[in-house]
Symmetry: C2
Subunit: 180 residues, 2 copies
Amino acid sequence: MGENKKFQRVGRRMVGKGHVYELYEDELILPDKRRVYYDHVEHRGAAAVLPVLEDGKIVLVRQYRNSIERMTLEIPAGGLSHFGEPTDMAALRELEEETGYRGDKAELLLKFCSAPAFCNEKIDIYLVRHLSQAEQKLDEDEFIDVVIETVENVIRKIYTGEIEDSKTIAAVLAYAYKFC
Amino acid sequence: MGENKKFQRVGRRMVGKGHVYELYEDELILPDKRRVYYDHVEHRGAAAVLPVLEDGKIVLVRQYRNSIERMTLEIPAGGLSHFGEPTDMAALRELEEETGYRGDKAELLLKFCSAPAFCNEKIDIYLVRHLSQAEQKLDEDEFIDVVIETVENVIRKIYTGEIEDSKTIAAVLAYAYKFC
């Protein structure tokens, strides 16, 4: 896309290093030649899954989210284990670890950027059907409950504001609009 | 929600200060009493608008996003101008500034958290109909084109991956599922 060239990044300086995320100050030349500084948060990418059971219900995880200081209901998701990990593999791995359900085939549902205004986190969101029961294998710091809900119930919770997580809203509505 | 109490935040230390965002290291006590450190990105909140014209088409903005190094097609949105600004007012302001369309009434469509795993950014997403034409008033560093699209066309671009922005995917599908 030629238009990109109108913005030119001429510098990137780390202003803070977290455990998973890094904060940068990017220096850009705008189309009108002015120089501006934008925040940028760096992340290596993630995968998420919408797991649909044979009876049409979906498998969600309930966990505490420190940043927003509340329990959330979300689709299973997790960061890539290393740079370049295939996202369908990561999606099936996170599904099994977080919920104890195993899937064989992950169908791409959405390509998703959480917050393109300041962060490069990309999440490939997969649909996984034909699940079999395996065993939950949580990371040491994960405290996650599995919650099975009907699509209708999840959609009701989206419109009432009970479910606020971006990837969960997008995934469930993308599934319902296409398949229900 | 009593379950929140199982996680206790006992410290927050700034590790990087950007122009708009700040990166923190949060110290938490887990339910099993272990101590962990999580990244947290602080933001004051934002508002977004799905503007629908009388003929059913929607108004989008095309702009360059430095973090993901590409042009995007998104619904109009912006940060709150000050802490505590009513989000419906912010939504109508951003709509007019970015697109030149004016609305009188903003109906809440979604409560939305972009990335609850690490950031407290909340975006209230409003539906605005019955638009009148006013004048685009861009900020100094904004280079934005207004793009009018049918709902069907936007949804097609969501499923092909051309539109990746989380709030745009969620807003358009939430609107289409409920009203189309």
